[in-house]
């Protein structure tokens, strides 16, 4: 457990970035990096084109929160000067443009891991935190599935 403030949560209500930053910063904090994801209405990448009207997020709640804590521990192993960390994932139905996830990493100075920690946090969340989204499009509905197959090293004791 870190001496710095930490927040791990699945949120049925809209996220308040200012409040979250206030929650995880301390007087010694001088840099905060935030990754904020949102519902994208139009996707056009690598020849793939699609429109989204709404996303519905579902989570395996106790495991998701435990895996968020594991992601934060991994961030601290890699960037030991990181101070406060918050990982908050929205659940439920979200409209285009709405905030879906906040990953917040604080440090005393900007070169002490806050950027790297936030980037690692979102990449790792998409591998091991059990959350799924259902894509509601004008032409149909379908669960979006990831690709990552967890292995023994992804266990908290791994």
């Amino acid at each position: 457990m870190s001496v710095y403030p930490e927040v791990y949560r699945l949120a049925p209500e809209p996220l308040d970035l200012d409040a979250l930053v206030a929650e995880i910063t301390v007087p010694e904090t001088g840099a905060v990096c935030v990754f904020s994801g949102m519902v994208r209405g139009e996707t056009n990448r690598e020849g793939y084109q699609s429109s989204t009207q709404r996303l519905e997020y579902e989570a395996y709640e106790p495991m998701a929160v435990a895996k968020m804590q594991q992601v934060a521990r991994e961030i601290r192993e890699r960037w030991p000067l990181v101070q406060g960390i918050a990982i908050v994932q929205r659940v439920g139905a979200l409209e285009v443009g709405q905030n879906t996830i906040l990953i917040v990493c604080a440090s005393a100075h900007r070169d002490q891991g806050c950027f790297e920690g936030a980037r690692y946090g979102i990449d790792r969340l998409k591998e091991i935190v059990p959350v799924w989204k259902k894509d509601i499009r004008p032409d149909g509905v379908g669960w979006i599935e990831g690709h990552y197959q967890p292995n023994a090293a992804d266990r908290d004791d791994g």
Partner: protein, 84 residues
């Protein structure tokens, strides 16, 4: 033994249930065997099973892990949280 099985996302929709109780004649069993028993009960799950991820008592489990009476066993697609 009796297992509490949880299903999420595509698997939940295919089975038409998000949690079921699975009774197996053995005292312990592998995750692979539980998977087979589950498909036996819900054949509609079959297409999702090759890529399904398993967690036992909320930790990732491989096919040869042993489960016992009272365990919570979850099956779900590879995760897709975060943004999009």
């Amino acid at each position: 033994m009796q297992l509490k099985v949880l299903l999420f996302a595509t698997l939940k929709d295919r089975a038409g249930a998000n949690h079921i109780t699975l009774d197996l004649p053995d005292d312990s069993s592998s995750v692979a065997h539980v998977k087979d028993a589950l498909v036996g009960r819900f054949p509609a799950l079959a297409p999702s099973m090759p890529t399904a991820v398993c967690a036992v008592n909320q930790e990732f489990a491989e096919a040869n892990q042993i489960v016992r009476d009272g365990d919570e066993v979850a099956f779900f697609p590879p995760v897709s949280g975060g943004s999009r």
